[in-house]
């Protein structure tokens, strides 16, 4: 066999080096962002009070914290999850168990994928028009609805992929015992897919927790600690957005710290989801 010429070897080496360089170029921004967020954010976290207190009224004061934003994010994500996770799993159940091959299933699957690509601000405009304007209220519910609409297609898609992987033999064995289909799904298929379903939901939650645009017209933001979903409520991405362009150094530091908390939350969710999927041989 003829050995490759020097020119070919050179081209080979160069292209491979470029590919390696591409990886480095891709990783550098991620590391840079994480390091920056860590360095700038950690200074503003002065003890546990940071997580439980609201920001100070005086914008120049470094006291207080982002307790209101954390509570707001948690409440809105919980509100969205309560409705849209079951709804999404239901949809996935239809796609996999009751309707595979039907035209409805094909259409739903296609448009669900399309829905994941819709810019999140459009959901914000939609919820503003149908909910905020009509109820004359910026509110946590509106924010939760906007976030939920973003989560919904993600839950459907990931749940579908997980449910499909449950082996047919499991279903057949259950049916052979005379267990009706709906019970099979409820007590055999879902439990065995539980780990995968949970990770899918964690990914959806991670995405929802980080969205800002849909909250601008729905939740509005609130500088006080508030547990009320019927009123404007704060959220971590909103806090970051407002602080990012604040001229007060204390507020900017708070923004970095919020970014740190948010990114930590999202990374934990994402990494745990990956880890669980990997262990299952995904």
């Amino acid at each position: 066999m003829k050995a490759p010429s020097t020119r070919r070897k050179l081209v080979d080496r160069t292209m491979l080096a470029l590919m390696g360089a591409a990886v480095l170029v891709a990783i550098v921004p991620l590391v840079a962002i994480l390091v920056e967020v860590l360095l700038k954010g950690i200074g503003a976290v002065r003890g546990l009070g940071f997580f439980t207190q609201a920001p100070p009224g005086d914008p120049t004061s470094p006291a207080g914290g982002i307790g209101n934003a954390i509570v707001g994010t948690l409440l809105m994500v919980a509100g969205a999850s309560v409705v849209f996770i079951p709804l999404g799993i239901l949809g996935a159940i239809y796609l996999v168990e009751y309707g595979p091959g039907t035209r409805l299933a094909r259409v739903v699957r296609f448009f669900t994928e399309v829905m994941t690509g819709i810019p999140s601000i459009i959901f914000g405009v939609f919820v503003f028009t149908v909910l905020v304007l009509r109820t004359h209220h910026f509110s946590g519910w509106a924010g939760a609805l906007a976030i939920g609409l973003i989560m919904w297609p993600i839950v459907v898609r990931t749940s579908e992929e997980i449910l499909v992987r449950v082996p047919t033999t499991v279903r057949e064995a259950s049916m052979a015992l005379g267990i009706p289909k709906y019970k099979t799904i409820l007590k055999v298929v879902l439990p065995s897919a539980a780990a995968g379903l949970t990770t899918g939901c964690m990914l959806a939650v991670a995405r929802a927790a980080g969205e800002t645009a849909p909250l601008l017209f729905t939740a509005l933001g609130n500088q006080f600690m508030s547990y009320s979903m019927g009123q404007p409520i704060s959220a971590m991405p909103l806090e970051i957005f407002n602080d990012a362009t604040s001229p007060y150094p204390a507020a900017v530091a708070r923004g970095w710290a919020t970014a740190f908390v948010l990114i930590a939350l999202i990374l934990v969710l994402t990494l745990v989801a990956r880890f669980v999927t990997a262990r299952r041989g995904g």
């Binding site: 304007l133 910026f138 946590g140 439990p191 979903m229 001229p247």
Partner: protein, 373 residues
């Protein structure tokens, strides 16, 4: 079976949490320690939503933190811009709006019920600039400012700027004017000033909360905070912001030539107070509105104006109306003392009295809400 019972428990927990959240959102606290009036029979709501002017945002946010313990109302204010505040109050999605601009004809027509303006503070529009190589304080006259923002003057060592700063050495850095991209009352005050001092400006670009800025060479920011950030980050930039934004970051602001052309005056609480000295305001159907641009006096800052709270004259929600009136009364009395420290000038006494008179005209079901003192 385990999944179903788990689901039940989780749902019950979340429903419980949700129910708790809902119950907190219903109005009226039990304690009726309203600060001023003992005769008022409506207990105020426990939370209020305000939005609008970023010019006044630091003030209202400070007020609400101080008012919360005594007035038992949580007033949440978001700086979304005067224009957004006006839109939101017209759409009735907030309880009160903050705005440095008054409603224009079209907005007044769109409001479902009459809205009134109540001035709360006076503020200076400071010209912050980023010119590290320049020593000393920059001086600018009104016409020069107009020419900078209309892009007639493009570099810092232009003849017009040199004329305002005799003997100073100016670099040839290009000027990047920064303006507000959102509908802004601060823009309103600033452009009204430019229209006053420069006929060319008045004819070409004019005044308003949103104007047709030159499209090249300028930067925009959504909100005073964003403008400040842009100026901070761009060498050679100049931008207009509320004084407090410049003060809190110790950014240099230019001294502007006063109306008498006798001196260049720095923006400060003192020079703003002087600007209000000769103001006469008359209350009308739209409340109490006035301007104080380019006022005479040696130490008077020329680019200053009031900021207003805009509310419905006839409130449709008793507890919320009461809370708004209590908050505003507190702001017009105790709150005035906070303003100096934050870079705003308090209302002159005469104006304050007139403002409280306007406050007294706010009604619910025909009865005035502010009955005490």
């Amino acid at each position: 079976m385990k999944r179903r019972s788990k689901l039940f428990v989780v749902s019950a927990a979340i429903i419980g949490m949700v129910a708790a959240a809902c119950s907190k959102s219903t109005t009226s606290t039990n304690s009726s320690n309203t600060p001023s009036s003992s005769a008022s029979s409506i207990t105020p709501a426990s939370s209020l939503t305000g939005a609008g002017s970023t010019f006044a945002a630091p003030l209202y946010q400070d007020w609400s933190t101080k008012f919360a313990p005594t007035g038992h109302v949580q007033v949440s204010y978001s700086g979304t811009g005067s224009g957004a505040g006006i839109t939101s109050i017209i759409q009735k999605t907030i309880d009160f709006a903050g705005s440095d601009a008054t409603l224009n004809v079209s907005q007044t027509a769109q409001a479902p019920a009459p809205l009134i303006h109540i001035p709360t503070a006076l503020g200076a529009v400071a010209m912050m600039y980023n010119l590290p190589s320049f020593k000393g304080t920059l001086q600018l006259s009104g016409p020069t400012l107009a020419d900078i923002y209309s892009r007639k003057v493009k570099t810092w060592n232009d003849a017009e700027i040199k004329a305002d700063n005799p003997g100073a050495s100016l670099p040839s850095t290009p000027i990047t004017p920064v303006h507000r991209s959102d509908s802004s009352g601060t823009t309103g005050i600033f452009t009204n000033y430019l229209s006053l001092v420069s006929p060319a400006w008045k004819a070409s670009i004019g005044a308003g909360t949103v104007v047709n800025w030159p499209t090249s060479g300028e930067l925009a920011g959504a909100g005073s905070a964003a403008v400040a950030a842009s100026v901070n980050g761009t060498q050679g930039a100049i931008g207009y912001v509320e004084l407090t934004y410049a003060q809190s970051n110790h950014i240099a602001t230019a001294s502007i030539q006063n109306a008498d052309k006798s001196a260049y005056v720095a923006a400060s609480v003192t020079s703003t107070t002087l600007a209000a000295a000769g103001v006469t305001a008359t209350a009308g159907a739209a409340g109490l509105t006035f301007t104080m641009l380019n006022q005479p006096g040696n130490g008077t800052y020329p680019i200053a104006g009031p900021t207003y709270v805009i509310v419905y004259k006839a409130q449709t929600d008793g507890p919320k109306g009461q809370a708004v009136v209590n908050f505003l009364y507190w702001g017009l009395t105790t709150g005035q003392g906070d303003e100096g420290a934050l870079g705003y000038a308090p209302l002159p006494d005469a104006v304050k009295t007139q403002a409280i008179d306007v406050l007294d005209t706010i009604t619910f079901n025909g009865t005035p809400l502010h009955t005490g003192m």
